[in-house]
Amino acid sequence: MYSRRFLLILCCLMLLATQTSCWSSKEIEDLALYAGLALDTGELTPTEQALEEQGATYPKRNKITVTIQMVPANSVGGIESSDTSSGSPYLNVTGTGDSVLEIFRQYSIRRERPIIGHHLKVIVVSSELLKQQKMNQLMDFVLRDNDIRPSTMVFLSQGRARETLVSKEKNEIPAFHIRDMIRNQKRTSKLMDPVILSKMDALMYSKRSYALQNLVTANGEVEFSGAGIIKGDTGHWVGMLNQEDTECLSWLTNEGKTGVIKTYDWNNQPMTYEMKAMKSKITAVTDGGNLAFDVKITTEGRLSETWNAEEYPSATKHAQKAEKLFKEKLEQMMQALIQKLQSDYKADVAGFSDRLSIQKPALWRKSEDHWDDVFSRTPIHINVDLKITDFGSFTN
């Protein structure tokens, strides 16, 4: 009887130890969350230079400069302290070295709060860095890390990536700003679907070429402009697509279904077509053993703006003429994109490989290993079907 009671008490005591359940708890106030990460070519910042001159350094080759955007706990929690002396809701910290993790750990000897990656939203990589290093090398750490979520979006930057994480707006956190701009996909297809880390992982593993949205900065403002192309077999940055190409790319891959097409009419006045529906279809065809792609683009929309005051295009007059002009313009834009992908960069970033592997798996297996080569030699026929369904609420 006594031994049983003793056992019971012993068990209770042992269980008690597990009840606090805060063994590895960390208070969120004591952590520095980072929301943005920028990767640049190795270049010491003035602070770092000054530090290193005093011997504050360690053995490294300065291959990469890593900037993180820390979001102070008080601005995340919504508790706005009225008189913050710094005024800025974010804090960028930069370090230079060879390994991303090592640089991260170096921050710990410069800042009091440990950094934590659970809330990383945006990674910006400079195209300059991607000429030197492979994407796989740069993404390795963020994919392995257990804090950083695979939902993080990856972008490229034309200039220094760290400049995209700077804003002149007082109450704005640039990393969140970049993430939120993606919502404007409803308005323009110049914004591509963001590439998240888990997709990046798949792209790198399958060694396919891909396009990443490009960020350009000036005067503390960031613009999404075009896209950079990363070659699958090398993992290096090979070139840029301009805004119009990027828009066409979004349409081609069915990622974007919105946007405007502007052209000049018979009086050389601008007129604009607003897309209401869009569908593109890529079909792989073989005629006589030669592979070719048929691209069919069907779109309907509204004529939303015209500057032609004399011969106003409406449902009764000149509608066909306007339709034809827009159609030509769209075809031209598409041809320009295909031309760039096939001849300039020899990189299939528009998902032709996906269509081929689904429609003709046997043929795909044969050309899988040197797909970008095959792609650049494959004829692509573009067929546009454009229809103006209405002319807005203003008629002459």
Partner: protein
């Protein structure tokens, strides 16, 4: 309170019992292990095919068990093949259960340490589960079955909610082409899909505990159909969500799927935390089931009382969990368990059935 003294479970309880024995850590790694061997998006066919094979296996197990009402494999194996040989087979089975139990709780601990409790020592994660499980197993099959029936709907619900929310990433093109490389990759995947069903051997003891052993076929196949359906769903959602290429490179693809999206404004913004926390309960059930089976085995083979064995098992299970030194070891361990499962299947239900058929039908002996 309604207290049962006869230690019997209903058909539904038996089905849930089997389900909770199968559905555990496998769901976290299955998309990777299948994709690694299939390499095309056809892994879902492998899962269905593997499930069909296991259904057949379970059918054989139930049929042989039904010949010995109220007796578990640990008892009737000796009857069929003699004490020494039968006992030897059963000891193998017990060892197998101990190893799976260790594997399950170790996986549980590894996932917890990597994603949830970085910095907590591993024993501090394993021991509470081990103690709690001891308490549960002490209560006998009835208490275990009842805990399972409580956990089952909760964990299934959270899994389904997570998958429903992951639809935003789902792209049917990730699952195409169907059979682009023909059937060979599908067969290659069978190896790993059959492995996720390791533990179906418990069928051979569960039937003995059923109130109405006649319902055993229905209950066991029902209990198997649920994990089969969920495995199928998991593979479809994970491959459809993050594609084959990403699933291959990810250590925990199912968790990575949950980590690949955020749901602003939903009750939880991130599904991986509720999912993992709830799934721990499922892995706990898994572990408890094998804990129970192994103690039952020892008790019945050596005819010893079960309660002291339960206590004696605690350190054994702890050691079994701590055996793998690294994650690589752990996954190698998992593969080894699968291979053992196949050998045991050949040794136990098949061999026993064959010998039993020869003795009863051929030699007209009374067994």
């Amino acid at each position: 309170m309604f207290v049962r003294t006869d230690d019997k479970i209903t058909a539904t309880q038996a089905a849930v019992f089997l389900n909770n024995t199968l559905l555990g850590a496998g769901i976290l790694t299955l998309p990777r292990s299948v994709s690694e061997s299939v390499k095309t998006p056809d892994s879902w066919i492998s899962v269905l095919l593997g499930g069909a094979i296991v259904m057949l296996v379970v059918f054989i197990m139930v049929k042989i068990s039904q010949q010995f009402p109220g007796k578990t494999v640990f008892q009737y194996a000796a009857q069929i093949t003699g004490r020494v040989f039968g006992g030897g087979l059963c000891v193998l089975l017990v060892l197998y259960f101990i190893i799976i139990a260790g594997f399950e709780i170790r996986t549980l601990a590894e996932v917890t340490l990597f994603f949830l409790l970085e910095g907590t020592p591993i024993w501090a994660v394993i021991l509470p589960f081990l103690w709690l499980s001891t308490y549960l197993v002490y209560g006998g099959i009835n208490s275990i079955a009842r805990v399972f029936t409580i956990v089952f709907p909760i964990s299934i619900m959270i899994l389904l909610i997570s998958f429903i929310l992951s639809v935003r990433l789902f792209d049917i093109n990730h699952l195409r082409p169907v059979l682009g490389n023909g059937f060979p990759p599908v067969f290659a995947g069978l190896k790993s899909t059959v492995l996720v069903f390791t533990g179906v051997e418990v069928t051979m003891t569960l039937v003995a505990f059923m109130e109405k052993p006649k319902l055993a076929v229905k209950a066991m196949l029902g209990g198997l159909a649920i994990p089969l359906g969920l495995y199928f769903l998991t593979v479809v959602m994970v491959i459809g969500g993050i594609s084959v290429d990403s699933a291959i490179t990810s250590t925990w693809p199912t968790i990575d799927l949950m980590r690949s999206f955020e749901v602003p404004g939903f009750f939880f913004e991130r599904m991986e935390f509720p999912f993992m926390v709830i799934w721990l309960m499922q892995m706990f059930c898994n572990f408890s089931s094998f804990f129970f089976q192994s103690t039952l085995g020892i008790s019945q083979i050596f005819k010893i009382k079960i309660h002291p064995i339960i206590y004696a098992m605690v350190p054994v299970l702890f050691l079994s969990a701590m055996l793998p030194k690294s994650m690589t070891d752990l996954f190698a361990f998992g593969d080894a368990i699968g291979k053992m499962g196949i050998v045991l299947f050949l040794l136990l239900p098949v061999l026993l059935s064959v010998i039993w058929l020869i003795r009863v039908k051929g030699l007209k002996q009374h067994v």
